[in-house]
């Protein structure tokens, strides 16, 4: 069995490139070579687009359309259900809470992570051990989300007062006189904040690295000139550095908004949405795989798609404008 598997893999490793190369070769021939300006040469890009378009269509466009269709069908997709799924979800407490939490995540998580990332980028820029500091701050980003969530579950662990606290958060706080250990993940509404802290811990390093790169791109002359004109550091940052970094900030914010819309692992591992910590992606997973309700799961997927579209469009337009300006 294993031998057959290995041989199959080897065969595929040979066949796939051969097929692609033959395709390129044949299309080139069919388009009549690369002579500029001829009718056939203009069709060459079309040939090159076809494989990508097929893959994109099959793995992205088709599932998207199918999901939209399924969202109007019943649980096992055997009957047309009209707007039932949509109507149900908007009267479903679990879904509404998930919707609210995703909004909270978008606002607070993005705000905190971007702000922290910016501050740290500026601060690390001014120290001699910059490389080390950045590496340390970036480390959490290299841990898988599930592992990070498991680690933080231990960080938040609760033991009744009087026992030795195995959770770092409670253990650290217990040096404060009169402190009672808290079950951080079970304390509405702080449990949502506790989950967001995990996200901030993971992604701040990522934001820092991107911002830091952008910061290095700003001409020192501008900053120097402002300083000579008597601008204070705060003014330099807000009037010169930040505006010059605005495009990077937009990209990072866009990335975080989309990341947070589909936030799943942290919630799934740490609370599974209990005590009002549910988020859309976790709800979708439950509807789909635990409750086998394809209709409702698809509605949530459609909602996520609808929520992502304006962010992506805004981002694209901003960049299109930027290009035109150059």
């Amino acid at each position: 069995m294993e031998i057959a598997g290995i041989l199959f893999t080897l065969a595929m490793a040979l066949i796939v490139p051969v097929v692609f190369l033959s395709y390129l070769f044949v299309s080139e021939k069919a388009a009549g070579g690369r002579r500029r300006g001829t009718q056939t040469a203009r069709s060459l890009p079309v040939f090159w687009l076809i494989p990508a378009a097929v893959v994109l269509g099959f793995f992205l466009i088709y599932p998207m359309i199918d999901t939209i269709v399924l969202s109007f069908m019943n649980a096992d997709s055997t009957r047309f259900a009209g707007g039932e799924n949509y109507a149900h979800l908007f009267s479903d407490r679990a879904f509404l809470i998930a919707l609210r939490n995703n909004l909270l995540w978008i606002v607070f998580f993005t705000l905190v992570t971007v702000t922290l990332g910016l501050i740290l980028a500026v601060l690390t820029d001014r120290v001699r051990y910059e490389a080390v500091a950045k590496a340390v701050l970036f480390l959490p980003a290299s841990i898988s989300l599930v592992a990070a969530s498991v680690i933080w579950k231990f960080m938040y662990a609760f033991r009744p007062a009087g026992e030795s606290q195995i959770g770092l958060v409670n253990a650290a706080l217990s040096v404060v006189p009169g402190f009672q250990p808290q079950a951080w993940l079970f304390d509405v509404p702080f449990n949502n904040a506790a989950l967001m802290v995990v996200g901030v811990w993971i992604w701040t390093g990522f934001a820092l690295v991107i911002f830091s790169a952008s910061l290095k791109g700003i001409s020192k002359d501008l900053v120097e000139a402002a300083r000579i004109d008597g601008a204070r550091e705060i003014t330099v940052f807000f009037r010169i550095v930040l505006p010059l970094m605005s495009k990077t900030v937009t990209v990072v914010v866009t990335y975080f908004v989309i990341t947070v819309l589909k936030i799943f692992d942290i919630v799934y591992v740490m609370t599974n949405g209990n005590l009002d910590t549910e988020v859309l992606a976790n709800r979708m997973y439950k509807e789909m795989f635990n409750f086998r309700n394809f209709g409702r799961a698809s509605v949530i997927a459609v909602m996520l798609l609808v929520a992502v579209v304006p962010v992506v469009v805004m981002n694209m337009r901003k960049f299109a404008r930027g290009k035109a300006g150059k």
């Binding site: 069995m1 031998i3 057959a4 041989l7 199959f8 080897l10 065969a11 040979l14 066949i15 051969v18 019943n74 649980a75 149900h88 407490r93 662990a157 609760f158 033991r159 009744p160 250990p181 808290q182 079950a183 993940l185 079970f186 304390d187 509405v188 799934y268 599974n272 949405g273 209990n274 005590l275 997973y285 439950k286 795989f289 635990n290 409750f291 086998r292 309700n293």
Partner: protein, 424 residues
Amino acid sequence: MKKAVTVIYIVVLSAVVGMPACQPSMGGKVTVLGVWGGSELDVFNKITADLKKTKNIDVEFEATRDINAVLTTRVESGNPPDVAILPQLSLVVDFARKGKLVDLSTLIDVGKIKNEYSPSWIDLGSVDGKFYGLFFKTAVKGLVYYDPQRFKELGLQAPKTWDEMMRLSQKLIDMKKTPWAIGIESGNASGWPATDWIENIFVRQYGAGPYRRWYDGTLAWTSPQVKKAFQMFGDIAARQGWTYGGASGVLSTAFQEAGNPVFSDPPKAYLFQQASFMAGMIEQAFPDLKPVTDINFFVLPPIDPENKAVEIGGDVLAAFSSTPQVKAFLEYMSSSDAQAPFAATGATMPNHTVPLSAYGNELDREFAAILNSADTVVFDASDMMPSEINAAFWSATIDYIKNPARLDAILAQLEKTRQDVYNK
């Protein structure tokens, strides 16, 4: 180039075609999907090694903690395992009604099973009159573990009625001690130990008939019966000072370690309700405990003496294909030969020909005796409910312990889920 590809093609083809030919007698394999790990899996591997020896059948076990999701995906994509070991009967019902499961009476020798299993197992494993679920490993639920030495020191006795148990708890409170250790954290199934509590209370109060209507979805969650069961649970679990660590402790303690405060030195609590499989886990955590003298149990006492059902949970085998290998595998699993090694791990086995001497210790033998002598056996109600209601029930117990005053709103929400699921 062309030649090389042809050679590879021929080699692949001959490897694939040649494979079945090299194996003698029955041969073949059975793919099994389940939630087992650790010692359970070790024993399973040991007994399936025997099957390999006698019938030359390979059993390929795939483990997952999220069986509902994995199995659904595999079945929907037309790639189910041959056999699934399911901890929730509702999954058996669901897949059976969708026509995905094999009616076992058409595959295996049911006569033999009827001789060796009590009829309630066949009933529980049947859906609409057809036999789909073969019980393999079970656990008696609703047992209260305690340390007899501590009880003696404090002059306490195992209670015979629910009221006695409540008075015993109050007595401990009066002695400035915490009576109960409860922990309901269990990852994505958090809350299930609390649903066990409520189910045990329900069946002791109202009996097997209403219990069935409850999990069948014909009894409203807002009914006085369900509300009463929640409240009686809350009288213990959500009561100030009655549980170790209070609501925070109950919610954040993993069920596996929840009993530890009862057996730690000094004890931090005195009573701990869980299923029979817990005895083994406690004995593992405290290897010095001697069964019966240092750790013993009483069954959650009756509330209405008329209602004497025993609640159980367990793993059920369901078949998605009907090959001769699956037949051989299932017949072997139902036999005393396959079940006896599991009995030694602290599981309670449904085949009553498994000798009591196969069980690990005195407590395990008592669990088996309770099961073999029970008039009525009811299955864990939440695991009989559709998974959507089951999940909502788990979460609801968490909300309830956190905020008992919200009970009516919580039950109204559950009722909404019930109506929604049954009116689909």
